[in-house]
């Protein structure tokens, strides 16, 4: 099972304050543990929402709103993608994370098999092809 672990924004992350060396060292150590255990698929940090935008969909109309966005504690600051056996295992990993404050959200990722009949064989084949090509691109891009 794959889980996405969502790290929420706070005043500092939204202000563009970079974490201290101490915090980064602790986080590096935690990432190292995730890698050694073979559970880490991906992880990224995001620039503050002041550098971002939102696109609102209403029918065919698209409205672009520039950041920053007001609901700071609901904004995303970063994420991990973990491959684990259960939600409990994902939770156990995050309990061990070096965060001193804030709230981390754990959400299961949809797999193609979750979609049932909506995922027709044609769509499934397309999905698999897209995934393989994207992974090759992600590897080549680094």
């Amino acid at each position: 099972m794959r889980f996405m672990v969502l790290v929420k924004a706070n005043k500092d992350s939204e202000a563009g304050v970079m974490p201290s060396t101490e915090v980064l060292t602790a986080m590096g150590k935690f990432n190292e543990e995730l890698v050694k255990a073979g559970v880490l698929l991906a992880g990224e940090g995001l620039h503050p929402s002041s550098r971002g935008a939102r696109v609102r969909c209403e029918g065919l109309k698209r409205t672009v709103i520039d950041g920053p966005f007001a609901e700071t504690k609901e904004l995303l600051a970063g994420f991990w993608l973990l491959q684990v056996k259960s939600k409990e295992e994902a939770i156990e990993w995050i309990k061990r994370s070096p965060f001193q404050e804030g709230e981390i959200e754990i959400r299961q990722v949809f797999e193609a098999s979750d979609f049932g009949d909506s995922m027709t064989p044609e769509l499934l084949a397309q999905e698999e092809r897209l995934r393989a090509e994207s992974e090759a691109r992600a590897k080549a891009g680094r």
Binding site: M4, L24, G52, E74, Q100, S118, Q126
Partner: protein, 139 residues
């Protein structure tokens, strides 16, 4: 530049466990959109997330982990899924988001991913191994 496009579907904060996209036309439209990103060579990865009612949150009051199972009563905006794309500019990322076959209840948030080069030099030294930590395992 890498950007994360975050889908924020209004109403998903209270979706029942097991809620799944079941509109064949909508799924087909989304797959066609994914394919257009793929063909343009901008798509790095994308995923959808099960509803928050199947998830959990971990917070650290007094530096001790505390687990709360979903759904999260106070949540107004929750994540439904994401794309990671590699495009030349923020404007390009916004253009891609505008082409998404989004439904009326959806907002797509565009956020730039922090690259190692964005950090100050002393911090960069600490993150030299970070790239090798990413994408180490495939499903």
């Amino acid at each position: 530049m890498r950007f994360m496009l975050l889908t924020i579907p209004h109403g998903y904060e209270s979706a029942a466990p097991g809620t799944i996209p079941d509109d064949v036309d909508a799924v087909a439209a989304m797959m066609a959109y994914n394919e257009s990103m793929q063909k343009a060579g901008v798509l790095i990865s994308c995923d959808g997330l099960h509803p928050p009612s199947m998830g959990a949150r971990v917070s650290f009051p007094g530096r001790k982990p505390k687990v709360v199972d979903g759904p999260f009563a106070e949540a107004k905006e929750v994540l439904g899924g994401y794309w990671i794309i590699d495009v030349p500019s923020r404007a390009d990322a916004i253009e891609w988001a505008k082409r998404c076959p989004g439904s009326e209840n959806e907002v797509i948030e565009i956020r730039q991913i922090q690259e190692i080069a964005d950090f100050p030099p002393d911090v960069q030294a600490l993150t030299s191994e970070f790239a090798s930590m990413q994408a180490v395992k495939k499903t």
